[in-house]
């Protein structure tokens, strides 16, 4: 489902934000690790710019305040699950208030590679309380559209193996040791992430896209849908 103006907050309003001023569009691409989100974001950006829209693209842990701290924390071996969730939430809030909202005020199309949903899904996959993290993240703006690139965990495994060729510590949820090795832990952890995202799909009005289609097919599907927002 696509949302028309005006933008709203899920539950908590951010101080100093007049929603009426937010003239831009907020578009979210969600999905688990290695599902092909960044490829689509890059193509969409080019396409939107060709159409004459100014585009801001942003994504998890890229903020000026906490981005660096998160990467440093992930290099150590002491980052607990709640601490990690809140560190990411800090980064998200920083980007929302200091990048996304100003860009929307200026009439940009904000294209975000993941939003609160991955943050919540990762927390839930690590056993944290669903209602707790939903409420923590409830200061987020309701996007105009949320595209959920959905794949089964076996598709993700083949993408990882054929792509990067190795499993990543955090993408495998190795901080929680879900399995005996990186592969087993990846399968278990990513299944839990997918399950958590699936459960959000209806509540948050995701547009679900089958990520096993070719990148071109997915791109055309996204183009058709995003075209209706303008």
């Amino acid at each position: 489902m696509l949302l028309k103006q005006p933008l709203e907050f899920y539950s908590e309003s951010l101080a100093g934000v007049d929603r009426g001023e937010l003239q831009g569009k907020l578009i979210v691409i969600e999905g688990p690790d290695s599902v092909g989100r960044s490829t689509q974001v890059a193509r969409l950006r080019t396409w939107l710019e060709h159409q004459g829209h100014a585009v801001l693209d942003t994504g998890l842990a890229r903020g000026a305040l906490a981005g660096k701290g998160i990467s440093q924390a992930k290099e150590g071996n002491t980052l607990g699950p709640i601490t990690m969730t809140l560190f990411y939430a800090t980064d998200f809030a920083d980007r929302l208030e200091n990048e996304i909202v100003p860009a929307l005020r200026a009439g940009f199309v904000v294209l975000t590679d993941r939003y609160i949903f991955s943050l919540m899904a990762r927390a839930i996959a690590r056993g944290e309380d669903r209602a707790w993290i939903e409420r923590v993240a409830s200061f987020a703006l309701v996007p105009h559209a949320i595209y959920y690139l959905r794949a089964e965990v076996r598709d993700l495994v083949s993408r990882v193996v054929l792509g990067r060729g190795a499993f990543d510590h955090w993408e495998s949820g190795m901080d929680m040791r879900f399995g005996a090795d990186m592969h087993d832990s990846f399968v278990k952890y990513q299944s839990r992430v997918i399950h958590a995202l699936d459960r959000m799909a209806k509540r948050y009005n995701f547009v679900v896209i089958d990520a096993t289609k070719t990148p071109d097919q997915i791109f055309r599907e996204l183009q058709r849908s995003i075209g209706k927002l303008f």
């Binding site: 949302l3 899920y10 539950s11 100093g16 701290g69 969730t85 800090t90 809030a93 208030e97 409420r135």
Partner: protein, 250 residues
């Protein structure tokens, strides 16, 4: 689209052997002095005591410093980074030690955020939910002090009030001292309003240091006496000497 969320219980009950004692109050209320005296008293009884201070996680330090130096914080990010700091200390330090049977003494706890972050502009409900993962203290002391007394102590003791400490980010006044006064006054009001909700043990912080300490010890004995005799991790004299040498503040 408004997402409806159910009412949530506050903090996680402590079902472990160890205990958690926290002190709260505005700057200049004397709570740190009192907690330090209390922990010495507990240690003298060979009780394993650990200490945790607000805003002291090494994992988060650089980020907090960056944010403060460049004035990057908003009420929400200020609140979230302090919660991150708290979570790190809780996950890595406080909970494992309480599980092990220690008495953990915390100088400021989630209630500091309940007071301070609300004054900065986040909602009471949101910040209470934010800290829901926290272990509920066995004892929470609130050092009640009139604003003027606290301000007198602060201005007498230290020479510079820091930007965020004075709430200068809120634009209350251009004068640091005036801003500090307004900001701390509002924090005081928040503390006063949550006494019942939290079940604070209120200590009159205008009394002498000795009187206050005696009250604290009486309350600890009355509320925890039984479990301090049995369940708690105790050191032999030799352990205690060895432990004195090790760093114990986080």
């Amino acid at each position: 689209m408004f997402i409806r969320l159910p009412h949530m219980p506050l903090l996680v009950p402590n079902r472990h052997r160890g205990k958690l004692i926290v002190v709260e109050g505005i700057d200049g209320s004397g709570k740190s002095t009192q907690l330090s005296l209390l922990s010495q008293w507990l240690r003298a009884q060979c009780i394993a005591v650990a200490f945790s201070e607000w805003n002291s996680s090494p994992l988060v330090r650089e980020t907090t410093k960056r944010g403060k130096k460049k004035n990057m914080f908003t009420p929400v990010t200020f609140s979230l980074i302090h919660a991150t700091d708290f979570a790190d200390r809780l996950e890595r330090y406080i909970v494992p030690l309480v599980k092990a049977g220690a008495v953990v003494c915390a100088d400021r706890y989630a209630y500091t955020a309940f007071a301070r972050d609300v004054v900065r502009g986040v909602s009471r409900r949101w910040v209470r939910n934010l800290y829901r993962f926290a272990l509920r203290p066995n004892l929470a002391f609130y050092f009640r002090v009139p604003l003027e007394v606290a301000i007198g102590r602060i201005l007498g003791g230290r020479n510079a009030i820091k930007f965020y400490e004075a709430g200068m980010d809120m634009g209350l006044s251009r004068n640091v001292e005036e801003s500090f006064r307004i900001f701390q006054g509002r924090i005081l009001d928040e503390y006063e309003a949550m006494i019942q909700e939290i079940g604070f043990h209120v200590i009159d912080a205008t009394g002498s240091i000795e009187e206050q300490q005696q009250q604290m010890r009486d309350i600890v004995m009355r509320e925890l006496g039984e479990s301090l005799r049995d369940g708690i991790l105790r050191a032999s004299r030799g352990d205690l000497d060895a432990a004195q040498a090790a760093p114990r503040i986080l």
